[in-house]
């Protein structure tokens, strides 16, 4: 005989009311704690950024090569001229004074002027940022669904043929360096499919009003069909190159996570209740398996932007990675420092967002 669940209707109503009040109170408490948590985390990024800034400052000063020499180029300057430039760049002052000034300016948000290009560093970074951002975002848009889907399929058929194919495919793809895959795609494009452009973000003959700097978005905003097609064509090869790298590691991770979650008790209970396998995976297993994947994806954004350095070089993509390589090549101290600090800030920010999402998604997380 089935036992009626609500024996005392009045009582259960009251208790539900109390429960609701508790939920509201808890949510308020949680919001308070969340605010504290965010503030603490923001404060935590400060030592990280300062640490990296200091490391970079020391590395710059120890590094062989001199921005003055690269500024002079092939011109041979007298000792006096070199001294004048050195003085103008502030390189003739004692190191500790340079360092204090650098940190002081950094705290005020002043990254200084590029030594070689003589533009503000922040301006240089902001003109190159959209290219990297566009590449990274589209790669993520390809990688996350693809990686999670493949990982889930493999986990569902654990030990089967499809599982082996996906596992080995992901492993081999992970082992292929991005620059080699990029070059192989370029070779195929050169020899067989002239449809794909080899490098750059936009063909020379196409004009586009830049609003955000993300070319695909800009062309949609301005209703420029030719520019839209061209920018998408330019994006295809780099995004495939970078996106599949991340998809490979995501597939491996999601496979492991889904398998782990599928072995848990509550999944067994759901299965015993007669829930179809599809619903079990989509509604019960995947949400829990996605939590660690989220953290990993956050870390990967940072790695992608760094790894984009190689992809950007392969496809002559005018992004942050190439800017940093340029700066290193010319020993442009301020620009290098600016890039690294900017990168550290982005990473700090991304990690913070991931942590907050983590806390919101997973009620078990305490902060």
């Amino acid at each position: 005989m089935p036992v009626p669940l609500e024996l005392d209707f009045e009582y259960s109503k009251r208790s539900r009311f109390l429960q609701n009040i508790n939920i509201v109170l808890n949510a308020e408490k949680k919001a308070m704690r969340l605010r504290e948590f965010i503030i603490t985390r923001l404060l935590m990024t400060i030592p990280t950024v300062l640490l990296l800034a200091t490391i970079v400052f020391i590395v710059m000063r120890v590094m062989p090569g001199d921005p003055v020499v690269s500024l002079m180029g092939s011109k041979v300057g007298s000792e006096e001229q070199i001294e004048i430039i050195r003085h103008a760049l502030g390189l003739d002052r004692p190191l500790h004074i340079q360092y204090t000034e650098y940190i002081f300016n950094l705290v005020r948000g002043d990254l200084g002027y590029s030594m070689v290009r003589s533009n503000p560093v922040l301006e240089e970074i902001l003109t190159h940022l959209p290219a990297t951002l566009e590449l990274t975002l589209w790669s993520m848009a390809l990688a996350i669904p693809l990686g999670v889907y493949l990982g889930t399929v493999a986990a569902k058929r654990q030990g089967g043929k499809i599982d082996s194919v996906i596992r080995i495919g992901a492993l081999v793809r992970w082992c292929i360096p991005v620059f080699w895959l990029g070059i192989m795609l370029q070779i195929v494009a050169v020899l067989y499919i002239p449809f794909f452009p080899l490098s750059g973000r936009l063909s020379a003959q196409i004009t586009l009003n830049k609003i955000t700097g993300l070319y695909v978005l800009d062309s949609i905003l301005t209703g420029n069909t030719a520019a839209f097609i061209d920018s998408v064509k330019h994006l295809l090869l780099p995004v495939f190159t970078l996106g599949t790298t991340m998809a490979a590691s995501l597939a491996r991770l999601s496979r492991a996570n889904v398998i782990e979650v599928l072995g848990e008790e509550y999944i067994k209970v759901t299965r015993l209740k007669g829930c179809p396998e599809k619903t079990i995976i989509q509604k019960h297993a995947l949400p829990n398996a996605l939590i660690p994947i989220l953290t990993y994806a956050g870390l990967q954004i940072a790695m992608l932007m760094g790894g984009a350095m190689l992809t950007e070089t392969t496809f002559s993509w005018p992004g942050l990675g190439r800017l940093l390589l340029f700066a290193i090549g010319y020993r442009d101290f301020t620009l290098i420092q600016g890039c690294i600090v900017f990168w550290a800030l982005i990473i700090g920010l991304v990690n913070l967002i991931v942590d907050i999402l983590y806390a919101i998604i997973d009620p078990r997380v305490r902060y």
Partner: protein
């Protein structure tokens, strides 16, 4: 000292025992990896006896692969196959040195940090977490430029990328190991903390570290070739996969595919070899001595 030797003997024995009872898939992975690695070694030895000189400049520039030069020739008329075989030694040497450097620095720090906890642990964790979150290739490029080209300098540049990984893994192990009864027993017997950390905890972590070294060897080879591709690896005449790949890239618009295809292929084969061995070891470690999967 003899205590450490004894413990290592025990580790080797347990390795062999584990390998015997481990699942088939782990065995297949490891065997495949070892075969690929032996293939690279075989070609290296074979080529040093019978192959062309990798430095010899000839007039046959950019010849496509044929029976004479099975991988073609590069822009200076050098035999690519021979350069690839010689490149094995430099790439693997750099990757190995880098792994050893990061292991020597990262693992003991991790063990100490995990065991003693407290403020030391917190400071080290903050430093290494900052390094871990930062894209390793950027730090490697900076340090490679700072130190200049060369085998040892490139190794040091790359090792920076992996120190935080060893630190994290060994710290985690050390944190969980210090709660185990055997550590408490040793402590009760009056062992000094230093001996406890270095002779017992660190030794106990060796199998996991070996698996990590193998996996990191693959990443290190990728990093070496990445630096070479950016022109920051070994100085030009030395055969190195990444550098040769970067040079060959200039000629793809002329339809010269072989100068960049084969260096990349060598990188992929070697990285796959080490990754397979590492994966196999990792899977093997999940199986405990009694054969129960943990």
């Amino acid at each position: 000292m003899s205590g450490i030797v004894k413990s290592f003997k025990g580790i080797v024995k347990s390795f062999i025992r584990r390998f015997a009872i481990t699942q088939k898939s782990a065995k297949i992975l490891m065997t495949a990896g070892i075969i690929l690695f032996l293939m690279l070694v075989f070609f290296y030895i074979f080529n040093s006896f019978f192959g062309y000189d990798p430095y010899e400049i000839t007039r046959n520039i950019l010849e496509p692969p044929d029976s004479n030069h099975i991988m073609g020739t590069d822009q200076l008329g050098r035999d690519i196959f021979s350069r690839m075989c010689y490149g094995t030694s430099s790439s693997l040497a750099i990757a190995l040195i880098a792994s050893v450097i990061s292991l020597i620095i990262g693992a003991p720090m991790g063990a100490v940090s995990g065991y003693f906890a407290g403020p030391t642990d917190r400071i080290l964790s903050v430093i290494f977490d900052a390094l871990y979150a930062f894209p390793g290739i950027i730090l490697a490029v900076l340090i490679a430029v700072m130190l200049g080209p060369g085998v040892y300098t490139t190794s040091i540049a790359i090792s920076v990328e992996f120190i935080p990984q060893y630190f994290r893994v060994v710290r985690g192990l050390s944190l969980s190991l210090k709660e185990r009864p055997f550590v408490e027993a040793i402590k009760a017997l009056g062992a000094r903390s230093r001996n406890l950390v270095f002779q017992h905890i660190l030794v106990y972590a060796v199998p996991s570290i070996v698996a990590l070294v193998m996996l990191n060897m693959g990443s290190a080879i990728l990093a070496v070739s990445g630096l070479g591709f950016l022109g920051l690896g070994l100085p030009p005449p030395t055969p190195e996969w990444g550098t040769d790949l970067g040079r060959g890239r200039d000629f793809i618009t002329m339809g010269v595919w072989w100068a960049s295809t084969f260096p990349g292929l060598m990188i992929v084969i070697s990285v796959v070899a080490f990754t397979l061995i590492g994966e196999g070891l990792n899977e093997m470690l999940k199986t405990s001595i009694s054969g129960v999967k943990m």
